[in-house]
Symmetry: C3
Subunit: 275 residues, 3 copies
Amino acid sequence: MSDRVKMTVSNGIADVRLNRPDKRNALDPDMFLALVSTGEALKCRDDVRVVVLSGEGSSFCAGLDLASMGALAGDSGSPSASDAPSIMGTGGRVTHLAQQSAWVWQEVPMPVIAALHGHALGGGIQIAMGADIRIAHPATKFSVRETFWGLIPDMTGTLTITRHVRPDVAKELVFTARIFEGAEAHALGLVTSLSDDPLASAMALARDICAVSPDAVRGAKELINSRVNEDAAQQFADEQTVIQSLIGQHNQIESVAAYFEKREPRFSDASIKRS
Amino acid sequence: MSDRVKMTVSNGIADVRLNRPDKRNALDPDMFLALVSTGEALKCRDDVRVVVLSGEGSSFCAGLDLASMGALAGDSGSPSASDAPSIMGTGGRVTHLAQQSAWVWQEVPMPVIAALHGHALGGGIQIAMGADIRIAHPATKFSVRETFWGLIPDMTGTLTITRHVRPDVAKELVFTARIFEGAEAHALGLVTSLSDDPLASAMALARDICAVSPDAVRGAKELINSRVNEDAAQQFADEQTVIQSLIGQHNQIESVAAYFEKREPRFSDASIKRS
Amino acid sequence: MSDRVKMTVSNGIADVRLNRPDKRNALDPDMFLALVSTGEALKCRDDVRVVVLSGEGSSFCAGLDLASMGALAGDSGSPSASDAPSIMGTGGRVTHLAQQSAWVWQEVPMPVIAALHGHALGGGIQIAMGADIRIAHPATKFSVRETFWGLIPDMTGTLTITRHVRPDVAKELVFTARIFEGAEAHALGLVTSLSDDPLASAMALARDICAVSPDAVRGAKELINSRVNEDAAQQFADEQTVIQSLIGQHNQIESVAAYFEKREPRFSDASIKRS
């Protein structure tokens, strides 16, 4: 197994860290696999009462590894071109993997608290939204970044964002792909609370949760999730349909190419029909 | 076609305006038809990236044309009595038209930003809630006004209001029919943001959205809507059932008659049974 | 019938009061029965336009009667041991009764405004969340208290809390069982508005609602509820499944025993499997 994710368990609290600090914990195939396998392993850990999910280094997660973007720019000679399908999920099973790296935190039976700092962009904010509770440093930079690349937030983000903010707020953030800071994220509802030391605050909250029965806490997570996560599978299938209709089409390739060529994109009219 | 709605398209942005300024854009059968036909035409406009919906003159929309209220007061001699069924929607197909004048903005594939000023009352606030994003002048007067006339908000408002505010807030606003201003609307969640020049702010946001791929933006709208608009058809059918049980009954007629006779209404006990 | 609940009707407003002030209106079998029978009787009262629900004495409702906790601590010799199944609802029909004491306020056709002061803990906050609108004194003490006793909020609270606050907020409150005051409850969305005299404010709002047609108000409540209470029956069945898996198991008994023995609980690993 890779060392992309570190986990230590102490006093019933699992300290799980994205561990690629030199890349601001950017998401590559190894990172997706490590996140999912960590989550799957936690499903069997009856001794773990609470999970705290954070990032080593300067950021929680800066999003998809930019080195993978070559293929999305139509650059088939890019060294990472062969990774693109597995990263962006055009391959069915692998799309499931990217979605699962964010969703597994809803599936584990114990509470998951995300401690956020630095950046939570693109896939990073989607993983954060998969946690049960979010504590962020006020200067954390957030963005639902995907439309900037001609994509949509297909890592379960189209479901989870509608659970935290109103539809008009979700649309404004997704349509513009703008960057916003922790204080605004808190005001909008994307962050549960702010802290100058999010990891310490998350650990303190985890200890508070350990003061009550772990069976009751697990039962409560199951019951609240049954209300807020209804029909999730259908939504994830819809994400797969839409992302597959976008990848490789002109406006998607142009989004990425313009970025790398440091120019404004020249879009054609909307051209993709689905239903 | 009537000139009740004006549309001009420039740089991918459709500037759509309710255009009956001498009546504060009050809703009559021609206005319903013009709104729906404009929306339906936009469904085929692949060159339109964003729609900005606003009102000419002093208001966005003051609600249902008061001249139509004669029939609802049981005044069969009113010149507008024959319009009442088509306006208030007792006729099946025509109720669909009134609902569609608010809902078509969810169905068009591109984002719709409503720029609100002056008044957004009754049908006006329901059309505004049908847009994806709302930018309002802080002094805009809002009201979910229908119970004042013995009616319910049957232009898709019973669905859209529950998407923007909590059920207790929705009930308080609907049960009292009170008037509230833009700043409170923003605090409650009915307005996305405030601006002293809502039309200019809506155009600026539209330009921001034009900076990313139109196909990605359309895909994002489709996916977010699939989460927030589930079971909409059933709710609209329920609206039709309830409004048809109210129109022409004693307490509905008394609501309107008391207003025109400038006196307090004298209601009988609740008497309408549905299930 | 017991005198656990008092009701007086005047000018179309039903003033309903939990009436066990010496016990801060704690919930015992008689109180559950009195609440449900009052609500059921209101379903037929066409002359009642609005219900105001409040508590006599120093509190709205301090939650489950502590005298009933002996049985939950495994103390079979407790005088109240035989009450435990009927209070906590392990018996099918009786669980329905506890849920119904909170839910009946959604089922009555007229608006229900809860006026809250003192304490709204455990079952008390669940009954409050069953009302349509909540007005609270800023110093009211709230808590979703059940996990502290090794239980979950099984009186319809797992549904109603997700209608008023985001899932992360719901989870934080339920997982920690912490006590919070009215001002925070308002900021989080659990309270519609604050008042230094909640009962007077609730009566004033009730009179405002009486200014519009009672048939329209009932129609609006029906339509808004059809959106926000979908699939409620399934959720209530899920609550029954989870609570029955918790009661009498080690961590639940330990939660209550530690409280009565004034010591920290010693929990075993999570051990309850459901699916």
